[in-house]
């Protein structure tokens, strides 16, 4: 899974469990940026958003500093898009609970909508939707776990995606790039999604920057000789991605160096030689856990991590980066981690969701009415 069930807290309350975040230029309206945040893995019809949570996107301008370590320089200016939901209303006795929501941008625009209304709500330069949709994520997470367990690449073709035809609660905002950011900002932006408890004491419940960070990059404990007993994910979830606190930074680094080293070794060659301190070349880049998108480029379907790869190679990026709903990010990530693109693309055997995402608002496809049961796969070492 991407970020589904990403830690004890998310398991306890799926309404705050961010499964995925996407950011892509609108294929429908050039000049508009689309942001998607999904929560609640395997959301059944009764599922609704919490009225106590701020579901929000945070964007900051980033630049690529020349001649320094491969990492983005993050600006101070921040743009937010905050989704709040009201308590439920029962329109008729016994009818399903209905819910209203509002998207508020830091620039002042607001758009109100009814949950599950495909038209969403509109304001000047802003369109917002929230409701139950088919989970766009696809990945053979069971065989990824098997890979970690057996220490051998375990993907097969075809693979099985546990998210196949399952549903999530989705939040979508489409924003006018020129109106929102103005002429001076951009074109590169860092994007994260968060669930927060708002108020005088804000509490970050979950955050999401890049897919598969917690499950593939941070989840396994066995390779980490420093903090083997520590489930690091809830701690990591609570960090501000633009400013990681110093308390657990060493623990995150140790875990990341160990796990990235494990993935690199799966093809029995070293494509990411660590430095003299044992630091993996991707560690600092991935510790800054946000997605980067170039809003000046047109929509592209498979552009995830292209900007980062260009940065690592000292080249100019060619695509919008970010992450589209149909992007096979799992293959990109596994290939990057295992062979750094120096070999054949590694496939997990799952190339798309049952129904490809739409090119029109709200982009995610309607919920699957009869989701299939998960397939129980063997995790024994014989494979």
């Amino acid at each position: 899974m991407s970020d589904h069930n990403s830690g004890p807290r998310a398991l306890a309350d799926p309404v705050v469990d961010i499964t995925d975040v996407y950011a892509f230029p609108s294929p429908e309206q050039p000049g508009f940026l689309v942001l998607v945040l999904n929560v609640f893995p395997n959301a059944e019809p009764a599922a609704l958003f919490s009225d106590a949570v701020d579901y929000r996107f945070r964007l900051r301008p980033v630049t690529i500093p020349r001649g320094t370590a491969p990492a983005f320089a993050v600006g101070e200016k921040e743009y937010t898009f905050s989704f709040r939901f009201a308590g439920p209303v029962e329109h008729q006795a016994g009818s399903p609970l209905a819910q209203e929501g509002t998207c508020t941008a830091s620039t002042g625009q607001t758009a109100s909508f009814r949950v599950n209304d495909e038209q969403g709500g509109k304001a000047h330069g802003l369109r917002a939707f929230a409701g139950r949709r088919m989970d766009p994520f696809f990945f053979d997470g069971v065989r990824a776990a098997q890979t970690i367990m057996t220490r051998q690449l375990a993907f097969v073709s075809p693979g099985d995606s546990r998210q196949y035809r399952q549903n999530v609660l989705s939040i979508v905002v489409e924003l006018d790039i020129a109106t929102t950011f103005g002429a001076d900002a951009g074109p590169l932006f860092a994007v994260v999604g968060e669930t927060m408890i708002p108020g005088p004491i804000t509490v970050r419940l979950e955050r999401f920057g890049r897919p598969l960070m917690k499950s593939v990059v941070l989840g396994a404990k066995d390779f980490d000789t420093v903090n083997r007993d520590l489930d690091i994910r809830d701690l990591y979830n609570q960090e501000d991605p633009y400013n990681l606190g110093p308390t657990y930074l060493g623990a995150y680094r140790a875990r990341m160096n160990a796990n990235l080293g494990f993935w690199d070794g799966l093809d029995h060659k070293t494509d990411w030689p660590p430095d003299a301190h044992g630091t993996h070349p991707l560690t600092e880049l991935l510790l800054a856990d946000f997605m980067v998108i170039d809003v000046s480029k047109p929509y592209a379907e498979d552009s995830y991590f292209e900007i980062e790869r260009a940065l690592l190679n000292g080249a100019s990026h060619q695509t919008c980066g970010g992450r589209s709903l149909n992007d096979d990010v799992a293959d990109t990530i596994v290939t990057t981690l295992v062979n750094a693109g120096n070999g054949a693309r590694i496939s997990d055997g799952v190339d798309q969701q049952a129904v490809r995402a739409s090119r029109t608002f709200p982009y995610l496809v309607p919920p699957e009415l009869n989701p299939p049961a998960k397939i129980e796969l063997s995790l024994d070492k014989s494979g």
């Binding site: 807290r9 306890a12 059944e44 599922a47 106590a52 408890i197 049961a373 998960k374 129980e376």
Partner: protein
């Protein structure tokens, strides 16, 4: 249109604490989780962890709504899970929890020992073990486990467990401090854990005879989770004791429909009888009696306690109460169990004396 105008139903900040999801939403989402897991389970598509999680979720719904059928479902599935995966620690822990719910404490401890031997996560096994020790009145042993858990990691769950133990063992001052500390550790938005914490705090004050403070914490639990049947039931009990019988009766009527726990018709029978509504009381008494008989037959360890209470009060059969109170004391040697037996013994003696007169 029937909107929810009660602030308790719309989440938001309550009592100056962090906001939690409105109770009605939290319950809908719990149901959504159960629906999803059940769909997969029906097709045989859940692994051991998923099956254990489903059992936990259904048992939690049973606790919130006062639904004994949910507990029974959870127990049956836990038995099946250990049958299918006898060497899996997670399956044994699930069965231990289910068995403990029905007060089969010796069996539950056996499951935990086996789970430990199979390499199950020691802190998880310890927490379950401590809860059972507390339930059977072995407070000192439970305290050792729970203090160790707090020392290892002081979080909402570990501090709440310690608070509950101190409360039950009568150390009110320490319990009060720990209840506050536990609440301060809470960093979620689900209202369910807080409602449960407040409920335990209310039980402590009720046991101390402080009805207003008990009422206050029960109300806090109710504000967080209006559908929480145990809080509603105890609110009715306190209100009846304070002379607010109309309010108590109004609370209990819906519970007799939504819950299959005989405690609610039993309470209703008692209160109606006390206010002279004898015919109505008789009907509810009969209903409670039939259900207690059924449950005592199926789960003698779990229902001996409450059935004894019933026969001592609305049921008006002290001999049956004494028999059940003895059974209850065999299962657990808590202060409450001793008091219940003493009460039943006095009632039987009183009945014999009255018969002699």
């Amino acid at each position: 249109m029937t909107g929810h105008s009660d602030p308790a139903a719309t989440g938001g900040v309550i009592d100056g604490e962090l906001p939690t999801t409105a109770g009605v939403l939290a319950l809908a989402n719990l149901q959504a989780q159960i629906d999803g897991q059940q769909r997969m389970a029906l097709a045989g598509g859940l692994d051991v962890g998923g099956r254990a999680e489903l059992i936990e979720l259904v048992a939690l719904r049973g606790h919130i709504l006062g639904c004994i059928a949910d507990y029974e479902w959870a127990q049956a599935r836990a038995e099946q899970l250990t049958h299918d995966r006898p060497a899996d620690g997670a399956a044994l822990i699930a069965r231990a929890r289910a068995r403990a719910t029905f007060h089969r404490f010796t069996d539950a401890l056996g499951d935990l020992d086996e789970a430990r031997r199979l390499g199950a996560d020691p802190p998880v096994v310890d927490a379950e073990h401590a809860a059972i020790l507390q339930a059977v009145g072995r407070y000192d042993e439970a305290l050792t486990f729970m203090r160790e858990a707090v020392k290892r990691r002081a979080d909402f769950a570990s501090v709440a467990a310690l608070a509950s133990l101190c409360a039950e063992s009568g150390d009110v001052a320490t319990a009060e401090h720990l209840f506050d500390e536990s609440r301060d550790h809470y960093r979620g938005v689900s209202p369910i854990p807080l409602a449960q914490l407040y409920f335990r705090r209310a039980q402590m004050w009720l046991a101390q005879g402080n009805l207003p403070r008990g009422h206050s914490w029960l109300s806090a639990a109710h504000r967080r989770l209006p559908a929480y049947a145990p809080a509603q039931g105890h609110l009715a009990e306190v209100e009846a004791a304070l002379g607010e019988t109309d309010s108590a009766i109004a609370r209990l009527h819906p519970l007799t429909i939504s819950s299959d726990d005989p405690d609610y018709p039993a309470q209703l029978a008692r209160i109606l009888s006390e206010v002279g509504r004898v015919e109505e009381a008789r009907e509810w008494r009969a209903r409670a009696a039939a259900r207690y008989d059924e449950l005592v037959t199926r789960h003698p360890e779990a229902f001996a306690d409450h059935a004894a209470e019933f026969w001592l009060n609305a049921g008006a059969d002290p001999h049956r109460a004494l028999q059940l109170a003895r059974k209850n004391l065999e299962v657990r040697q808590t202060r409450r169990a001793h008091e219940l037996l003493a009460h039943a013994t006095r009632a039987v003696d009183g009945a014999r004396a009255a018969g002699r007169r």
